[in-house]
């Protein structure tokens, strides 16, 4: 499902206009990004949380040559689903 369809659905459920819905979604994601950039996790109630976490540097082996090198550490955006939704989606 793409964003357009998601907005249509939100319109139907919330009764907002399409324009409002689009604007609200854009601002919501913007706020989310800003908060993530500030090092804040974002709680999505009933869905889970988004968090920036560091992936630690590790030794990696080139599968063909067998060369060993160190993969540098990097930040990752990680989504951790809430327990309720996790259990609910397990069986579909």
């Amino acid at each position: 499902m793409l964003t357009k369809e998601l907005i249509n659905r939100i319109m139907k459920e919330s009764g907002l206009s399409k324009k409002d819905a689009e604007q609200l979604l854009a601002t919501t994601t913007a706020i989310m990004r800003e908060n993530l950039m500030a090092g804040k996790a974002i709680q999505l109630q009933g869905l889970g949380s988004l968090d920036v976490k560091e992936r630690k540097a590790r030794v990696i082996v080139h599968p063909k040559t067998g060369e060993r090198s160190i993969a540098p550490s990097k930040n990752q955006l990680i989504f951790k689903p809430a327990v309720t939704i996790k259990e609910e989606l397990k069986k579909i």
């Binding site: 499902m1 793409l2 964003t3 369809e5 998601l6 659905r9 939100i10 459920e13 919330s14 009764g15 907002l16 409002d20 819905a21 604007q23 609200l24 979604l25 854009a26 919501t28 994601t29 913007a30 706020i31 989310m32 990004r33 908060n35 993530l36 950039m37 500030a38 090092g39 804040k40 996790a41 974002i42 709680q43 999505l44 109630q45 009933g46 869905l47 889970g48 949380s49 988004l50 968090d51 920036v52 976490k53 560091e54 630690k56 540097a57 160190i70 550490s73 930040n75 990752q76 955006l77 990680i78 989504f79 689903p81 939704i85 996790k86 609910e88 989606l89 397990k90 069986k91 579909i92």
Partner: protein
């Protein structure tokens, strides 16, 4: 991350930013959440622009083992939510300075520190083999020292051992010298207050190494001494066992030498005197002297020649037969001489008495009946000219 943007905070921020009422914002966010879940359930995938994609991933069922009972169990397949951030968001996230980042870089620093430690350890190990080598090398040389000593006379042993001992000292000495400067250098470089315990340890270790070396050295010397003593004892025992054989061997050597000299004399003489006399059985020293003085010599030769056949015939005729022996397999004339005369040296007499039956004294047919002559007192003289002549003839016959 300690800080969390809660649902209410998000709602307020959204309301403030978009200039909408908090009620609308709340409605929107609730609708967003609900639709995200719905979309996941229906399409298993939702793309949110400016954030990323939520996806429902199927995990296949797999087999596992119950850890406590050991029973095999199948873990049933399930779905899990995976989130893939947008490319732009991913890049943004990379720039985030995480407070844990400082801690996170520690592992690498720890790795670096560990690498340094390993390098130091390797350096220490590199010193140990130097000290260990001299210990091993002398051990390896020990068998080499023993082997030649067993075969060769005693006098060579110290000659072989001395260089080994010198080598050992030379090898051990530089190793000890090489350690000391290494031990001093780190002391000079490092800060004394912090590193004192670290410095003391290697020094102690090196002292221990030196202590270990000393007992090993004494062991080596003790072992070589024991080997030396054992070899001495063995050689003495061997000497007593073999003394008789060696004596007889030396005697036989002398006899052979005598024979060779006699043969040479005979051949030289015969070559020189072919014109003068056809008889080649001339052996006396008188005949040799005669060579120098030509005229006189011829007379002397004639005299001896006249005498000799007489002696020969007489000896043949005079042999009174003691008894007859039948040659059995493995018999020898020397044994018969030993048996009947008590001295194996008299075997040429037996040969002389049986010239008609024996051509080669060392190859006598089994079953041949041999006459064993009686010996007179004069014949028993081993230095008599007659015996020497007979012996030479018998020895010459061996080659036939």
């Amino acid at each position: 991350m300690a800080d969390k943007l809660s649902w209410t905070e998000l709602r307020r921020a959204l309301a403030a930013r978009a200039n909408v009422s908090e009620k609308d914002a709340n409605a929107f966010l609730n609708a967003l959440n609900a639709q995200l879940v719905e979309a996941l359930k229906e399409d298993k995938q939702v793309k949110v622009n400016g954030l990323g994609t939520f996806r429902l991933q199927a995990v296949a069922p797999r087999k596992s083992v119950n850890v406590t009972t050991g029973e095999e169990i199948t873990i049933e397949g399930y779905n899990k939510i995976a989130f893939v951030p947008e490319a732009g968001v991913k890049e943004l996230v990379e720039k985030v300075d995480l407070p844990e980042g400082e801690e996170a870089t520690d592992p690498i620093q720890k790795l670096g520190a560990q690498a340094d430690e390993i390098v130091d350890l390797l350096d220490d190990l590199g010193q140990k083999p130097n000290t260990a080598e001299p210990k091993e090398e002398p051990k390896a040389e020990e068998p080499e020292v023993e082997e030649p000593a067993v075969e060769e006379p005693e006098t060579e042993e110290p000659v072989v051992e001395e260089p080994v001992a010198e080598e050992k000292k030379e090898e051990a000495a530089p190793a000890v010298i090489a350690e000391e400067p290494k031990a001093e250098e780190p002391k000079a470089e490092e800060k004394p207050v912090e590193e004192k315990p670290v410095e003391e340890k290697p020094v102690e270790k090196k002292e221990e190494k030196k202590k270990e070396e000393k007992p090993k050295k004494s062991h080596f010397w003790r072992d070589t001494l024991i080997c030396f003593v054992i070899l001495l004892v063995l050689l003495v025992v061997c000497y007593f066992f073999l003394r008789h054989q060696i004596c007889s061997w030396i005697d036989s050597l002398d006899l052979k030498l005598d024979k060779i000299e006699l043969f040479n004399k005979l051949t030289n003489h015969s070559a020189a005197d072919q014109e003068a006399d056809e008889n080649t059985l001339i052996f006396s020293e008188e005949a040799e002297e005669a060579e120098a003085e030509e005229a006189e010599a011829e007379e002397a030769v004639e005299e001896t020649v006249v005498e000799m056949p007489a002696v020969e015939e007489a000896s043949k005729a005079d042999y009174p037969i003691l008894l007859t022996e039948e040659i059995t397999y493995g018999s020898r004339l020397a044994w018969l001489a030993q048996k009947h005369y008590g001295n194996r040296e008299y075997w040429p007499y037996i040969y002389d008495a049986n010239r008609d039956k024996i051509t080669n004294p060392s190859k006598i047919a089994v079953g041949t009946k041999i006459r064993v002559p009686k010996l007179t007192a004069a014949q028993k003289d081993l230095n008599s000219k007659e015996f020497i002549r007979l012996r030479d003839e018998a020895v010459a016959a061996i080659g036939k």
